[in-house]
């Protein structure tokens, strides 16, 4: 049925939406168009932009730092997104158990997600400190025992060479932020600490799963695991989907933690996409490449989101 729209309603509607309509023009459409334009320009913001066609994009093909930043972000997103999703779901299931003082546990798990990321980065920088950090202080004696009592004798019994056995006896703790591989691992690890909001969204979803479904299934003799996979998981799938999309969008924009904690190092091992854009734009005043990279980032996010939406038909269940 076509609704009849009076002139008065039309004007009122537009007047109420006016802040956003102006905002869309000034802070969305115009900047979007300009950044697309700049991505084809040589532009330093100090001089007028000069059109240079696809040059910025072509240069990105051979820009090693760009490749590293892209690759690092892919690795980060590919590991962090699925693991934070799984972890938050597990935590939500655990926190959903009807036990005493469940509220306190929920609060504790939620709190870290409120901490400003700059502060998070500093706390973890201190925890991961190779010499004085709490993590290595706890790891060192454990690794010492593990190497001496278990790994070295085991390798010896299996007939490994003297050198291998000796190196296993002296297994040491990683230097974390000083080591290219461990630095990335540390940053992924920190993303597990800030899952509070995802957990709360899962908890809300869990509370919406009808009790009767579980009760009926239980009467039919379905075990807890069977019920999880055949009731909880399908009922929760829209929430999983929402968190997945949010995870994809968020992980591709990671900036604060590595910027403060490692500055992209050691080497470029924790240089992420948004950091490189920031560096190109505001440290090197290469606005053209910065905008080109930002547009590629937008396209990647749109592509991944579209992929998620396409796959949703297969696994997301709307009651």
């Amino acid at each position: 049925m076509r609704e009849r729209i009076t002139r008065r309603e039309q004007l009122a509607g537009m007047a109420f939406a006016a802040p956003y309509l102006i905002g869309v023009a000034a802070f969305l459409v115009y900047p979007l168009a300009m950044s697309l334009y700049y991505s084809f320009c040589n532009y330093s913001m100090l001089q007028p932009a000069i059109w240079i066609g696809w040059t910025n994009y072509r240069h990105l093909l051979t820009d090693h730092a760009f490749h590293t930043a892209l690759w690092n972000t892919i690795i980060y997103a590919a590991i962090s997104v699925p693991f934070t999703l799984a972890l938050s779901l597990l935590l939500a299931l655990l926190l959903n158990q009807p036990v005493r003082s469940a509220g306190i546990y929920r609060t504790i798990v939620f709190m870290p997600s409120l901490v400003p990321l700059v502060a998070s980065a500093l706390i973890w920088q201190w925890l991961f400190n190779a010499d004085k950090g709490l993590i290595n202080a706890a790891l060192r004696p454990m690794l010492h025992t593990l190497g001496r009592r278990i790994l070295a004798p085991l390798a010896g019994a299996l007939g490994a060479g003297q050198a291998t056995v000796e190196s296993l006896r002296h297994i040491t703790a990683p230097v974390w932020l000083g080591d290219p591989h461990w630095a990335m691992a540390a940053i992924i690890f920190i993303s597990f600490w800030g899952v509070g909001q995802t957990v709360v969204i899962f908890l809300a979803g869990l509370q919406d799963v009808p009790r009767e479904l579980h009760e009926a299934a239980e009467m039919d003799g379905a075990g807890a695991i069977h019920r999880f996979f055949h009731i909880t998981l399908p009922m929760l799938s829209p929430v999983i989907f929402f968190n997945l999309i949010m995870g994809i969008i968020g992980s591709w924009q990671i900036f604060d933690v590595p910027y403060v904690m490692t500055g992209g190092g050691p080497g470029r091992s924790t240089l992420f996409y948004s950091m490189y854009i920031f560096e190109a734009a505001f440290n090197q005043l290469r606005m053209g490449p910065a905008c080109a990279m930002a547009w590629i980032q937008l396209l990647i996010i749109l592509f991944l989101t579209a992929l998620a939406f396409a796959s949703a038909r297969k696994w997301v269940y709307y009651a």
Binding site: S35, A102, V118, K132, A204, F278
Partner: protein
Amino acid sequence: MNRKQRLLTHLLLLLAAAAYAAPLLWMIDTSLKREVQAVQIPPVIIPHPLRWQNYRHVLGDPQFDFSLFARNTLIIASLSALGAMLSSSLVAYSLAKIRWRGRGLVFGIVLASMMIPFPVFMVPLYRIFRELGWIGTNLPLWVPAFFGIPFFIFLLRQFYLTIPRELSEAALMDGCSHFGIWWRIMLPLTRPALLVVGLFSFMGAWNNFLGPLVYLTHQSSFTLSVALQVYQSRSGGTSYNLLMAASVLIIAPVLVLFFLAQKTFIRGIATTGLK
């Protein structure tokens, strides 16, 4: 649950709580130690003596004017919250309660724009703000909030949709204007949702790092997040006991706010996932 299961659940919960609380506890712990004690190996668990002076030291540091940075941050966060609440609720009302041509398209833009990463806007926005003479002021950090934040528009629209149509239609019949309905009926009815929007935008502005990093150029206008980063990376480095004390000072207001409005918070986050 039988006894064994309950025991196991409690054990797992304790483990999770310990893992999530430990970094914050260690931060507080370190913030109360002398510098020598903070870096001692094996680590000292209970600081002795308790160095409350660390806090006085941070607050009195001429290079880290905490009260100034706190005021800067508070102003930006409050104005952002006010702007987001006002503008987003107006726009949401228009999208949910007024029939007009184009509102479907506008709602589509609201949804789509949530996916666009900030770096895409970063350079042109910088140029716009530069031409307005706003670089170095806090204007770029809160003025846009008055033009509607997509995520909050979406959130409030969903709330408005749950309010029966008859309510606003009856008021319209009685000669009430849309503005009157919004002001006298909708705002009071959606107070909880509005509070969520206010809280979230306040926290978002308080925690924002990239924005202030891009737009603020003078130390005197820095927000706490940027100031903390500068405090850490200044020449010679800052020792960890002082850095942790500064971190506690920055986290504390957020946590206090959370405990004051815990219910609102949790409900707000919970509803975001239930589209």
